[in-house]
Symmetry: C2
Subunit: 220 residues, 2 copies
Amino acid sequence: MADTGGRTRRRGKDLLDAIYAAAVEEAAAGGPGRLTMDAIAKRAATARTTLYRRWSDPLDLLLDALAELHPVEQPAPGADDLRGDLIASLRLMVDWGFSPAGRAVLAILADPARDPAVVDALFERVFARRGGTFTQTVLRHYAHEGRIDPARLTPVVLDIGEALVAKRIMDTGEAPDDDYLAAVVDQAVLPAVGLPAEPPRHPRTPRRGGRTVTRGGEPA
Amino acid sequence: MADTGGRTRRRGKDLLDAIYAAAVEEAAAGGPGRLTMDAIAKRAATARTTLYRRWSDPLDLLLDALAELHPVEQPAPGADDLRGDLIASLRLMVDWGFSPAGRAVLAILADPARDPAVVDALFERVFARRGGTFTQTVLRHYAHEGRIDPARLTPVVLDIGEALVAKRIMDTGEAPDDDYLAAVVDQAVLPAVGLPAEPPRHPRTPRRGGRTVTRGGEPA
DNA sequence: ATTTTTAGGTACAGTCATGTATCTTATTGC
DNA sequence: GCAATAAGATACATGACTGTACCTAAAAAT
């Protein structure tokens, strides 16, 4: 009953957008393992036939869908607040990770049956030509301004913030709060780039929330 | 045709072991989303009926299977080599993560459709009463000996090594080599506990191998 | 206005997994 | 040896998804 402008049959971009949205939502909900043409068609309120005219299987469709999605917001490093900018960039990452697109991408990457070709396609088509990861953009900015030793910005160091946040999400299944992001920046990222962690506002460590598990670990 | 000692029908522990192994292998191969009673029964070469006598669904079975598995090997911190012990503990983690049990557990944790109750059960039954995570065991040991400031060992810091290794595995889908583990220890873990990173043997950063993606990121 | 394109819808045969029921028989406990 | 237990095997109705065929009618192109 939505206003379709008198039209009763979607076509072209309208239809594609509906299909893409349906595919991403399905993938985010059940992962690639449970993604079916049938479910996508139902969610998009179209006929399965329409899908088969363009794609041969659900994953193929999903990759097109992800490639069409709006890109992730980029961190915009501010004037003179390395710590604050790092926290903000991690917040962007968390927000993205909990969007349907983010969930779908994570599900593909974590799929034990993942096809390397699919992962490659994901990188080439979805992540093509972006500036860098979240904290990476910020760290490079401040290195360029001479406030960080560029030699410190190794691949490992550029990944520290993202890795800890990702693990936290895996462990708890929930979005970390700002206190946790601040702890990551203060206790892991800043020491790694050779800056003294700023004096902690509260001497307490971040609340533990759930449990802490390792990718191959157990409660701390 | 295996030597069954003249017996033709498995029963009790023999049968259970075969079923558990089959369940874990299936879960490791396809993730919880593709885990079915049918596939487990086929792989264990038993009748589906036999499974239904004990379990009501595949996940229930899988949790029992994981609980029965041999525990992960524990890091054994040596005399006086913090750096080496940290690297060794991360190596243990990698080995575990690529075992069928490790893959199955990761697949459960990463499943977008994961049931919190299942995750809780996993922690209670599989990870119950273990000393701690991999680098955690080592770090606590050296803190106890007074070589690390215990106040530094926050939950975030105890997770750094595991988080980076986990992310690396997610990104590349392969087991990191020792150079990478050493880089993690030198560039992230040791700085976070307030120790100067040891002089790097080679001034080069670890080889990049594949790409580096963030949990919500793109190539670096 | 007429033709072309393509979305919407129905139908169908095939495959796979689910639960349940039923029967036979190997193994175990007494 | 005999009875109880439980594994192995087969069958069946049900439901989900697949891939294809086929038809219709709406929207766009001419």
